[in-house]
Subunit: 307 residues, 2 copies
Amino acid sequence: MTTKSGRTGRPADPFPDEPGDRSPGAYPGRLRDVLRVPAGGRVDLSSYDPGGIPAGPRNKAEALEAAAAAGTRLAELQERLYAAATAGDRRRLLLILQGMDTSGKGGTVKHVIGHFNPAGCRIKAFKAPTDEERDHHFLWRIARELPRSGDIGIFDRSHYEDVLIARVRELVPREVVRRRYDEINAFERALAEDGHTIVKVFLHISHEEQRRRLLARLENPDKHWKFNQGDIEERALWPAYRKAYERMLERCSPPEAPWFVVPADRKWYRNWAVTRLLLEHLEELDPQYPQGDFDLDASRKLLREDG
Amino acid sequence: MTTKSGRTGRPADPFPDEPGDRSPGAYPGRLRDVLRVPAGGRVDLSSYDPGGIPAGPRNKAEALEAAAAAGTRLAELQERLYAAATAGDRRRLLLILQGMDTSGKGGTVKHVIGHFNPAGCRIKAFKAPTDEERDHHFLWRIARELPRSGDIGIFDRSHYEDVLIARVRELVPREVVRRRYDEINAFERALAEDGHTIVKVFLHISHEEQRRRLLARLENPDKHWKFNQGDIEERALWPAYRKAYERMLERCSPPEAPWFVVPADRKWYRNWAVTRLLLEHLEELDPQYPQGDFDLDASRKLLREDG
């Protein structure tokens, strides 16, 4: 119902008939297998429906119920991850969000962060690079914002801008863009080996949905500050951006850090899917509370006597 | 019902009988006038009841209702503050939380952040200074973490550690501690003049409530990672800490950045009070959405034609 046929790498049945709870809060499949960009293949975004529902809840009510159920579990897993780091566990999670203007990167950050304790999160929205940042290698500013062990990092835009707008606007020669794919892959491989679980999400919206969202901004004076005429001019470059995204998805989806294509025309589906992807990755990490490093009985006694 | 008599600076009636909505969500007074440490006076913490309810909701149910109502308004004010900054408004808000171990600084951060869009917040938990930080003036690491214009900054501990633990543990001579009060006041005055609204909250818990909370941690193995035997030993220094807090409250409560003493034995009251203090300060700032800097009709036309 969501993707046209012919794409490889997608499992035959995104709603696997496993035993167990089939309530919407307990989607039994692995969404990551459904949305993952397969390593090594070609990517044609016209085979991904931005308005689709490739797996999981079928409507907003089901999605809200599912996200609430996931939220409780996410909060617990985050606390375990954070706690484990205090005992030397170097693992951490980094969510990277990319997508066209109005694709909902900011809204996604707001939604997913709602599940977590923000004190253990590190959110960074990357803007056009400053003069100082431009004076360094493009990964320099990224490395400075990586999450600490035990933390959840969230990037709203990232080093991928340097193969997206940089390619479309020809900010660097095409040869440099090609080199950057490899540099990014090497960088992310090193991070993965150092305990970073990297979840890369491409928020896929349609040209038409972007038009609706920009028009909605125009019709609400309280949203005018978000609007800038350049956003409309940028729409003329849509086909070039699409190609840049396709190359990025193809070239930078190694097994240790693949891209996930999340249909983003429906906000409730987008929110559920990103939440679900985080949950599946954290479940796999399965972080554990460390044991306390103290004498329980002695501490108890001291406190009880200390009226 | 909460404070003993004899303290100056507290208004006669913390539940003023103003016209208007008296539902718990709409506390009509100014909590900041009730909880503010008066400039220039002596502070005796024994006249502040950590279990008190000096104003506002009288029970947990009322407090939850009130906090929910305040939350909607807070989210709107934050968006306005953020939006105004995009048009050059330099204002921002900084919440500083101090309090003994288990006083609930982390829990307060988690609660208040729930009202905001975290992308516009900058949370920083200050730990024991690193070697690099120690090599600088004590305000160096603070300055680096200040919120940008339009942002809400939240400090879990702060430069006040340098007149608290530094005084109690005699990390520096008493003379240096005294000088630091003045340096802090000068620093915060400069920030206030540059558009920082500084809301300083002392979470006031009782010695007995801390004992209960430490014991509760001991009885839950999932919380053992938070426990450290030094926390119990630190309790022997309670009187010295109390004196250090009193001096801090006295010496660093100028009109532009006073301390607020929030009774923190009841978590629901603490959460309501901090939320309410933020609301009152943001209401006073009254940030406005900027006008859009574009041709509305031309943009509309372009988008409508751009099928």
